[in-house]
Point group: C2
Chain length 157, copies 2
């Protein structure tokens, strides 16, 4: 076999030049969280978007799909499949408002409440594992810093 080392130049490839950038580190951390979160929700038959939708509906019963889309920062058309799925699975009810028959009032069913409770617990556990190297104070400060960064933008992706 041939000597793998070039003996003259860099034998290992580094990303040190990208490490000082906040965006790079944020993206990599997101990759880790995302992969773990998907694995956490998959046994419950949920995706990130359906879990988020359940959470916001549970917090704001009776809201419309347009309001939900705004809260989740997704376009209205992309929410249709989500509410269809949640409705078909019997997790959410869509009732027409008497005052405005264009809009739906979204509410969790009893099954939706139960699944949301289970999913919330699962996600808490998932986050606790990722949070593990951080102290309580660090976690709070991390979220606070992320929100400060978020506030610098217009809010849309």
């Amino acid at each position: 076999m041939v000597d793998r080392e070039e003996t003259t130049t860099a034998p290992k490839v580094t990303d040190a030049a990208l490490r000082p950038f906040l965006g790079f580190n944020l993206r990599r951390a997101w990759n880790v969280i995302h992969a773990d979160l998907v694995a956490t929700l998959e046994p419950l038959g949920l995706r990130m978007i359906t879990f988020s939708a359940l959470t916001v509906i549970g917090e704001n019963p009776g809201l419309s799909q347009a309001q939900l889309a705004t809260a989740l920062s997704v376009e209205r058309p992309n929410l249709v499949a989500v509410t269809d799925e949640l409705s078909t699975r019997g997790l959410v009810t869509r009732e027409r408002l008497a005052s405005d028959r264009r809009t739906y009032a979204l509410k969790l069913t009893a099954a939706g409440e139960r699944l949301l409770a289970r999913a919330t617990e699962a996600v808490r556990g998932h986050e606790a594992a990722l949070y593990e190297p951080l102290s309580d104070g660090e976690r709070q400060s991390l979220i606070a810093m992320l929100q400060k960064i978020e506030s610098k933008g217009t809010g849309r992706s």
Copy 2:
């Protein structure tokens, strides 16, 4: 116009139930950074992936495409279009290695070096604006915490 308040139920939709989750805040912060970063690189004719590639090539001259793919956490096939573009634009050279004529040695051209320098400066400015609400110490601690979270994962998305 009609009174927007329902006077009986929640007039505003909140995402307070999602705010305690690290993943939610991270994703929102990423959206802001991503949108601003795209806008920053667009005038230079760069995308995130091409900027990252230029940076890593500049830091590791002579590396192969497989090494670059690993460093950037992208699949090899998806890197072909990137190196094609950089090569066509005269920013990067692809030279066959005499020792192994399968692999390319990627290097920046003089034009590539110049564009990378300009882009790096632009991205630094972009990040400085987003960083603005944070102190120097907070920025270091933020990146350190993100790297701790990243280290909890397997590294793949």
